[in-house]
Amino acid sequence: MTDLSPARLERPSAVSFLGYTLGLVIVFWCLAGAGFSIDKVMSSPPRFADFASRAFPPNMDPQVLARLGWKMVETLQIAVAGAVIGVILSVPIALVAARGLIAGPAVNQIVRTLLGFIRAVPEIAWALVFVVAVGLGPFAGMLAIVVDTIGFCGRFFADDMEGTDKGPAESLTATGARKIDVVACATIPAAMPAFISTGLFALEKAVRSSTILGLVGAGGIGIELKVGFDLFDYPTAMTVILMIAVVVIAIEQLSGWARIRIIGDQQ
């Protein structure tokens, strides 16, 4: 009997073959640029074990724990203050960025491009800029978080509002309501669950970011990490790493719980 089933593997066209080859070349080029070395990978476990042996047990001295604890509190203060202000400022910015709401296409595009620029610059770079602008300390870190949150939430809030059901807005428009009233009464309430979800993600992101802002003098526990490594005080550095991990995981759990409580309940 003649086998009519198709070939298990289709022979790629010349263009596809060229594309796959080019892709592989680019990956190897990037690995070379990143200094990828099998030798270093193979030799790293003993070094890592050496670091672990010197870092464990972590420094549990009460005085150190108290100092790091206050630094962690400051880190959370930077994150929460920056995220809250950033989320609040994101709403009006998103209104202008969202297509078909209150601003024209040209303004939408300009604001979206600005938001893209904000996101393109990492928070650590914003922290450096604000350290120059307002000096060393947590305020510079908070400003960096604010800007980073605006870049994140501004874009997603705008997308959320564009994606809402247009029915309620149309019903209000049909009765002569102004655009701003329609947005306030129909669009924003409809997008609120998405705002809350995005806002909680922004808070998680802010907490993660705020732990490293201290590396550039923008406040928070990051400076303790840097000092620990600079002074080869690995037990203290390990304590900082563990504290960051615990706090970030706790915030993620809390955020997930809040998301279900607020949005799940409302749905």
């Binding site: 002569g176 309501a177 409809a190």
Partner: protein
């Protein structure tokens, strides 16, 4: 068989069925649909209205005049352009040709504040209720004042002036939902939601009400209740009503006049009393 032919073949049951063809319309533009338009003020007038989306023509040459207090059913098959025509009449989407006059003003020429002032005299009830789900029933009804009194005070019932709150409660009372004022809109049944939408539409006492398949998303019993309630309320107020419906029985029962769209043309303009269900079925072929 073309709709006109079908309708022509049913003249045994039609007394003053007014079939529209371009020649007849040009010869007697005011008399299309005749009736009370000749003696009452005209609330809505469409003159040779056409609408296209890109290269697709939805309808063209649509002309009619609707007198104050008339209840007009707009019927036709899916895709005939009923909802599009309704939106053109409200000025929600621009017409491609012709003009629409609403309460004496040309909606296609009105813009900004003038258009909003015009719309403030209009109410809309949609198929999907279109309530804001997360807000209370009372806030949704208070939103009905946004056209006539824009601003923060009508964003929520908590901020609304006493008169507005009282009027909103009165409207809810009329639709039998005063006890649901503080309930969230997304916790209502379909029939209750549509009744709240009706309360929102009538709360600011509009002169013209548009209803786009108001009971299409409801079960037959709830749909019947909603239509009865809607027309009882608006008839009391002498409001002009234009509603679209796939339900031939509803169209004939609640409409004083029937406009039928088919094949991109206004194929039928007649009093409901002069028609039987079989007269309308041709529009759906």
């Amino acid at each position: 068989m073309p709709t006109r032919a079908i309708l022509s073949s049913t003249t045994s049951s039609v007394t003053d069925l007014d079939l529209i063809d371009p020649a007849a319309r040009q010869a007697r533009p005011v008399a299309t649909g005749a009736h009370s338009a000749l003696v009452s003020p005209v609330d809505i007038e469409a003159r040779e209205v056409a609408k296209t989306f890109g290269d697709t023509a939805i309808f063209d040459g649509v002309s009619f005049r609707l007198a104050r207090g008339e209840a007009v059913a707009l019927v036709g098959a899916n895709g005939a352009g009923k909802s599009t025509l309704l939106r053109c009449l409200m000025g929600l989407i621009p017409v491609s040709a012709g003009s629409v006059h609403l309460l004496g003003e040309e909606t296609s020429a009105a813009q900004g504040t003038a258009l909003r002032s015009l719309r403030a005299q209009v109410g809309l009830v949609s198929q999907k209720h279109n309530l804001v789900p997360r807000l209370s029933v009372l806030s949704n009804v208070v939103h009905g004042f946004l056209g006539k009194s824009p601003g923060l005070r009508h964003w929520s019932h908590m901020l609304a002036p006493d008169a507005s709150r009282s009027a909103a409660m009165h409207a809810l009372e009329k639709v039998g939902l005063a006890d649901f004022a503080t309930r969230r809109a997304d916790r209502l049944s379909g029939g209750q939601s549509q009744r709240v939408a009706i309360a929102r539409a009538i709360v600011s006492r509009p002169k013209v009400l548009f209803a786009d398949e108001p009971c299409a998303s409801l079960d037959p019993s709830a749909g019947e209740d909603v239509m009865e309630l809607f027309f009882r309320l608006v008839k009391d107020e002498g409001v002009t009503v234009v509603f679209t419906s796939h339900n031939i029985e509803h169209a004939l029962r609640f409409g004083d006049r029937i406009l039928g769209l088919s094949n991109g043309k206004l194929q039928l303009d007649a009093t409901a009393a002069s028609l039987s269900p079989s007269d309308l079925r041709g529009l759906y072929d």
